[in-house]
Symmetry: C2
DNA sequence: ACCTGAACACCGTTCAAGT
DNA sequence: ACCTGAACACCGTTCAAGT
């Protein structure tokens, strides 16, 4: 029932945008998007709420900056692999895991399409698509498919985790409960959901995610946009 | 500068969950997620804010119900086509257009993974995946890929539209502005974004979205999970 | 049984006053 | 120049009082 997990970092160094964003990430990780409050944040930084506006335009700016920090870190991690498609898989998995660890990033990413965070992902994914040998006219469609899939599925997965956490369940109990409810649906109206329930209970998010990436890569190969040799 | 576009529906019939959700959708369409307020909603329904809690558990319940209404309508529309993949494309496009017309549905969908709206989409997409002849063990991975892509890309597209609308720009001006900014990026750090900028300016969201669906279908075929004859 | 609307415990944001 | 923190204009939600 601890209201303040860490008593608050004392005020040694002066306030800075970096320190504000760091503290915001801690609050977001601890309490989700609802946990980020200018009052809680200023308390943690041992100052008044008004002081934050010297380093951050508004709450949206703060959320985007926090999101960007996580994304930048996640993209910096995976090294170049032997083949473009292996690197692409590593980048995609790195993002999946970063969003899984910081579920609020999922919704924050979708909200701010213009600025930095999405651009970083676009660049990293785009470079691999180009390295795969996709011709310029087809590059945009390939990148937009991959981008949508990566951000969409990672965000969905994180949302699942958030709901589970909010209800105090672990992932397996949450999926299990959902699967049980599906298996009890009206067979006339929901035949597929009923039948898939068991597979859903046992599924591996990470494996399915990577399978999706591979499915898209397979599509790029089979439509002649990538030479098979270029995809690991 | 009209604060109340429609003066408010007079109170003839009694309050009901349906009427509350209908009014919520109007507010959401008019002002996005920020436009939905229990005060504005109760005013529109000529009652007090407290009265709404008789028909709706809380704001999240209301948002999910509104989302579900839109999704149910969108899924009811597309008729069965000649082939499963053509039907799948029609369903996917119907959702894309519904989310484009009601951008708040994008984020609402991602937020509530358990309940109805996602289940409806899962069922509809799942039935087509099954009709395509995908074997049961591979069905879940195929459905989860399609689901993530459909919801992810549609939501991303809607978020773009929302940001553009919030800044008072039309879609072309918004994309054009983004493309211009990309084309001015540092060529060392963002070579891909720079080069893709022109294609991005000219791209067709709907066409790219359908191309993504086809890419995933092509992947299902080439990995032997679907017989080519079964995909239109 | 259902509605009403004031009241409660919060928000993000601003801005005069301080240092 | 930068911080402070009270004040403003809002929220979602509750609940005694009404009908």
């Amino acid at each position: 029932m601890a209201k303040t997990p860490t008593p608050a970092s004392r005020r040694e160094e002066p306030l800075s945008r970096e320190r504000v964003v760091d503290a915001a990430i801690e609050l977001l990780d601890a309490g989700g998007e609802a946990g980020l409050t200018f009052r809680a944040l200023s308390e943690r930084l041992a100052t008044g709420p008004g002081a934050l506006y010297g380093h951050v335009a508004d709450k949206n700016d703060l959320l985007t900056a926090a999101c960007d920090r996580i994304v930048a870190r996640a993209l910096a991690l995976p090294a170049a692999e032997d083949t473009p498609s292996a690197t692409l898989r590593a980048v995609a998995l790195g993002l999946f895991e970063a969003i899984d660890a910081h579920p609020w990033v999922g919704s924050a990413l979708t909200r701010s399409p213009g600025p930095m965070p999405m651009l970083r992902i676009l660049e990293r994914v785009g470079q691999q698509v180009q390295a795969l040998g996709v011709a310029p006219p087809a590059q945009w469609a390939a990148v937009s498919t991959l981008l949508g899939f990566i951000v969409g599925v990672s965000g969905q997965n994180a949302a699942n985790a958030q709901v589970a956490q909010a209800r105090g369940l672990d992932r397996d109990d949450f999926l299990g409960g959902l699967a049980t409810r599906w298996s009890q649906l009206d067979p006339q109206q929901y035949p597929f959901a009923r039948r898939i329930a068991a597979d859903f209970r046992a599924h591996d998010d990470r494996a399915d995610y990577l399978a999706g990436i591979d499915l898209i890569l397979a599509g790029l190969i089979s439509t002649g946009r990538v030479r098979p040799a270029d995809a690991s």
